[in-house]
């Protein structure tokens, strides 16, 4: 029995290792290729013979990469801050305050989850063209400032808290906003962390709307930058791989630091939501 268990354990581990190989291989290939000088590209060796930083130097100093990086950072940070504040405020209100029309408003917000981005993108474009938002930071930002998913998530969280805590705050003379800010928010910190990370990653990786609203190279975010730069660079795969490595790095860092919150966030939406 014991020998059989050990054999199963070994086979399970072997299979998982093989699988991880498939998951890791593209990342490995990307990073290794990014260190190869152009002539080595088509040699199909794993390790670069003469590793070089030249690709990174070219990408960093001779393309708009640093600017795209800054744009992505700005857009992702501002949308995340806005989402965290407004989604939790709306979630708190819908969970803890009594007022006429509450359910109607909640359903109205939830119903927007069913509308695909592709449908909104066309009116957003028309609207942006009329108001001069094309190719501006505001144009990049506005669709992501508040999310229905976040309002829903925060409402679920605020509902699980005991009412006594809020009543105590009111007794102590806190304003309604003070109750939300000083009592509510600290108690839902795990949910805020998960929502914040997801919002940041989602906006960092966003492609469709930025592709549409951006017109000049300076306004590109990283995904748009890489897509169009690769199109322009044609066969310069070593540069494309260096740019992709630079784009992936911050995401993987965020992921490894906040793994627990990210996984909890997925579980929250899929299994308990």
């Amino acid at each position: 029995m014991k020998a059989k268990n050990r054999l199963t354990g070994f086979l399970v581990l072997l299979f998982l290792l093989l699988g991880s190989g498939v998951m890791v291989l593209p990342f490995l290939w990307m990073v290794l290729t990014s260190f190869k000088p152009f002539p080595e590209l088509f040699e199909l060796r794993f390790l670069p013979r003469e590793p070089t930083w030249a690709n990174y130097q070219t990408v960093l100093w001779e393309t708009g990469f640093l600017r795209w990086f800054g744009n992505s950072l700005l857009v992702a940070s501002l949308t995340t801050l806005s989402v965290l504040f407004f989604d939790s405020l709306a979630g708190y209100t819908l969970a803890r305050l009594r007022f006429p029309g509450k359910n109607l408003i909640f359903i109205l917000i939830l119903s927007t989850l069913m509308v695909p981005t592709e449908m909104l993108v066309i009116p957003w474009y028309v609207m942006s063209a009329e108001k001069g938002w094309i190719n501006t930071y505001w144009g990049l930002l506005f669709p992501g400032l508040i999310t229905a998913f976040g309002v829903f998530l925060m409402r679920q969280f605020f509902e699980t808290l005991p009412q006594d805590l809020f009543d105590a705050g009111r007794m102590d003379g806190l304003s309604e906003f003070g109750v939300f800010w000083r009592i509510g928010l600290p108690l839902v910190r795990p949910a805020l962390a998960a929502l914040g990370i997801f919002t940041f990653l989602g906006n960092w990786n966003a492609f469709l709307w930025p592709l549409i609203v951006v017109q000049t190279p300076e306004m590109r975010t990283i995904p748009v930058g890489i897509a169009l730069f690769s199109g322009e660079a044609g066969t310069a795969w070593n540069l494309i791989m260096a740019a992709s490595s630079l784009a992936v790095l911050p995401v993987l860092l965020v992921f490894f630091f906040f793994q627990r919150q990210i996984i909890e966030g997925v579980v929250l939406t899929g299994v308990k939501g």
Binding site: G9, L13, L16, S20, M23, L25, P26, F27, W29, M30, T33, L41, L44, F86, A90, Y92, T93, R98, F99, L108, T112, M114, V115, P116, T117, E118, L120, V121, I122, P123, W124, F142, I146, A148, V151, E176, F177, F180, W204, N205, F207, L208, P223, I226, S230, M241, S244, A247, V248, V251, L252, F255, F256, Q259, I262, I263, V266, V267, G270, V271
Partner: protein, 296 residues
């Protein structure tokens, strides 16, 4: 006094909701109706040249071969992708439950592609899948398999794109299933074992039915994802987007091409209405399936 307190609370509530509500009305709900309205117009940048065409665009939907192609492809993506990612996700989640060690490590490895920018993923894969100097063909050669055209072949391009999407979604699937498996009470298995059930029968009669809500969620979220497939398709075959011979064209890519490359915004909006209808349908099916009770 009670009335004024209730009023006070309602006033606070509306003050808190004012900005979010205005946002949803102006940037989400109004544009959805504008898309409907646009679908009835031949749109032009110059307002004097826009004209009402009624349901003409909807009639065009019926005889548009590219739309038919995009719909057919979307169906193929879903039929290939969903079963693959669910089967692989479930197997890996079960293996992760059994593994003697390294569980968190493996879970992180499998999940990493899910958070990676799809654009970068698409470019790396398109490089690895290149027919002449791609790593994948080199690896196949080690197994004695002749080089494959992958993204360059009208027959292989769609399954190849699907593979990349499955690869990227797999970690999400694994995490969901792991959580689902963990939420099944141990006592069920113990009770069944006392009754003499083992292995496959435990899975068939306990794991599978109790995993049903997670399964339904995965299928629905997955399907909605495949309905909106865009980034990978565009970037995997950048010089021939949706190609070869439209074999990878998706609804979302077709909408993008119509609206922003050919500037047929009215007709593009009509296709988005179709996409919305499909998503609505999938969501309603989900609600129906999830409200059905699971019986043991």
């Amino acid at each position: 006094m009670r009335l004024t307190l209730a009023w006070r609370e309602a006033l606070w509530a509306f003050a808190f909701l004012a900005i979010p509500l205005a946002f949803f009305l102006y940037f989400r709900i109004l544009p959805a109706f504008q898309a409907l309205w646009l679908s009835l117009y031949e749109w032009h940048a110059d307002p004097s040249q826009r004209h009402f065409v009624g349901l003409e665009h909807y009639a065009r939907l019926l005889e548009d071969p590219l739309l038919r192609r995009a719909l057919w492809n979307t169906l193929l993506y879903t039929l290939l992708g969903i079963p693959s990612q669910i089967a692989l996700g479930l197997v890996i989640a079960l293996l992760l439950q059994w593994t003697p060690f390294g569980r968190d490590f493996f879970r992180a490895i499998y999940f990493a592609p899910y958070v990676t920018p799809a654009v970068a993923v698409a470019w790396v894969w398109s490089w690895m899948l290149s027919p002449h100097f791609g790593l994948v063909n080199e690896l196949l050669a080690l197994l004695g398999i002749p080089p494959q055209p992958f993204l360059q072949s009208p027959n292989q391009a769609l399954p190849t794109v699907t593979w990349v999407v499955v690869w990227q979604n797999l970690g999400f699937q694994v995490v969901l299933f792991l959580a689902g498996l963990e939420s099944i009470p141990r006592q069920y298995y113990e009770a069944a074992r006392i009754d003499g059930a083992e292995g496959w029968r435990l899975f068939r009669h306990i794991t599978w039915p109790l995993l049903n809500p997670v399964l339904v969620f995965s299928v629905v979220i997955g399907t909605i994802g495949y309905l909106q497939l865009f980034t990978q398709v565009v970037n995997l075959n950048f010089t021939d987007q949706g190609g070869p011979l439209n074999s990878t064209l998706t609804l979302a890519l077709y909408i993008y091409q119509l609206a922003f490359l050919r500037f047929q915004l009215g007709y593009a909006a009509t296709v988005t209405v179709l996409l919305f209808a499909l998503i609505l349908l999938v969501t309603l099916v989900q609600l129906k399936l999830l409200t059905r009770r699971v019986e043991l």
